[in-house]
Symmetry: C2
Amino acid sequence: MSQRKAAGDAGRATIRDVAERAGVSVASVSRVLSGNYPVSEELRRRVMKVVGDLDYVTNAHARSLAGGGTPTVAILINNITGAAFAHVAKGVEGAATLRGWLSLVGTTGDDPERELALVNLMRQQGVTAVVLLGGAYDYDEYQLRMARFARSLDAAGSHLVLVGRPPLEGDVPATTVDYDNEGGAYAMASHLLSAGHRRVLVLPGHAELTTAQGRLKGARRAFEAYGVPFDPDMVRHGPYDYEHGYEAVQDSLRDGLDFTAVLAGTDVVAAGAMQALRAAGLRVPEDVSIVGYDDIPLASQLTPQLTTVHVPYEEMGRVALRAVADRREGGGSRRKGGDGDHLVLGTHVVVRNSVQPPARRA
Amino acid sequence: MSQRKAAGDAGRATIRDVAERAGVSVASVSRVLSGNYPVSEELRRRVMKVVGDLDYVTNAHARSLAGGGTPTVAILINNITGAAFAHVAKGVEGAATLRGWLSLVGTTGDDPERELALVNLMRQQGVTAVVLLGGAYDYDEYQLRMARFARSLDAAGSHLVLVGRPPLEGDVPATTVDYDNEGGAYAMASHLLSAGHRRVLVLPGHAELTTAQGRLKGARRAFEAYGVPFDPDMVRHGPYDYEHGYEAVQDSLRDGLDFTAVLAGTDVVAAGAMQALRAAGLRVPEDVSIVGYDDIPLASQLTPQLTTVHVPYEEMGRVALRAVADRREGGGSRRKGGDGDHLVLGTHVVVRNSVQPPARRA
DNA sequence: GAAACCATGGGATACGGTTTCCGCAATCGG
DNA sequence: CCGATTGCGGAAACCGTATCCCATGGTTTC
């Protein structure tokens, strides 16, 4: 009778309990379970029987400590409820699960301090990779901080993956999975311009957000290409949410701004804008056209269905995970800062029913 | 010079490295870092200096193994991108983070096999609690399987929490956090009935889904209370998605079904229904009224804004985490099957603009 | 002034597996 | 028929940390 284990047997069964009860050694049990060592059929049967009886599962912490252990990817995200990045998370998680990897998740709530704390927490967990989702705020300090993260993780045998934000400058051990943000905005704006719109209300997002900067830049380039002057007064910055879309349009109308189309930085912003236009008695798209960005499910659920830019969010997630998995199997970091560290996926305009040529003005 | 650690120093620094470099014992380093033992200022300074230099973080696996360790909650969810349960996940994760807990996340994709595999995986991880989100399919086997899960987890010192599904029968060590599903449906249907609607198309969801069953039951009760006959032909089952809403309405119209309102099982289904009505040239709410369920952000972003039932999803998540945290601090399972194992949160109707009294018929 | 006590720091052990190194038995070849 | 090879199971050494127990030096108390 084992001494350190009373009859009551609180807590979980250990590999020793299994070994004892099966009348074999601890090593044999381990071998049967990991299956990376030849064992006789008889032994396997005996062990598995007891494992079933005791409802035994191996202790993941012990296993990791001893060297084995399930690869784990940490997903750090601003807000789970944001549709776009929820899809990325789904892509990462799905691809991880497919390979038997585990997914940890943490939300930063746009707080740089929490982001830092979480990265450290994940470092403690010894995760295989940390995936950081979402556009970044372009503070001066950002580059330095991220570079530090990347190096810390790399030193610990882990790896940093940036999804949906621009790559880090210099020789930093990090992978970036990005999409053609500016190109999508260019195409979207071109779509409006070619439909004949000349006065467009632009709601790119927060001025400091890298995503918003790219979208604004793409739009501006399209205007230049069409030889249409770009009026800075027609740009309203603000958060990527419904309320901002609503208020920006409301304010613009109140200010007597003259526009025939709205170029929203996000589908959600577009939804808010649409609602505000309706509230003002304007029809979409007869009076004012609207386009969004992201192509989240909402876009096709609005009435009229929203013309928008499709971003392959879920695939970005899958690609991100594949990148770290490949690197892992490929034998660690081959060349830092080389190609293969920055993957860019394409975007394209999805034409639905929210754009029409501008109405003749009175 | 340590022998088992070459100069290259791949991998992460251990507590031993820190101790050695600071010229103190391993125990001292541990104490400085956990802070649960008095140490001199001098010692703390010395250790922290080296910790900073080496960028050391403790190995979470080793810590857990040794008894310490961060409490971890596992969130199992069908689909992260579903708005309703994403909010629950947010609530759980937020409350967890607030207490310094960690959140693991796994998606089941509606696959009972994966659910099983994930619960076992989480058991390996030694999680403090497993939170299972979302309505369950009411198979015969369900009760037994869940009861087994609950007991397994309980035996391993963990705990099962069911969110948004009915509690387990019998003496099972599990906690349920639920909302007044049937009551919400009753109130919602009553709202339609009191507006004068008599012929209502009901889209409750999948017939086997517990959530759908409750919503249907609540609606039926309301009809009875109003003395309005409930026509089974007006009920169309199907998944909780946009397409189902669209097709159900489309088919109903094609079949010549006569209805003045749609009682959708979900806001997303309502969105699909709304689109289909529009496509058929019907106006909402002038010709047909629509109501939803869940009150996800989409509900207020549609045009017209959707009257729906508010479910406190995020709070359910917080409550779920609080329940396990309390139980943990309260000294383990006090009484199994007693009260406090089933928490029910209230729902209420949110009146917006998608309901009008039925138009006079020709 | 001696004894009892406190505040700290160090050494050793436990946590639950994996894995390497060995030994034993059975089988095979000559 | 005997020695060598092969196959399989066991004992023990870690993995990195927390903690128990003990040693030490200084302080308090009688």
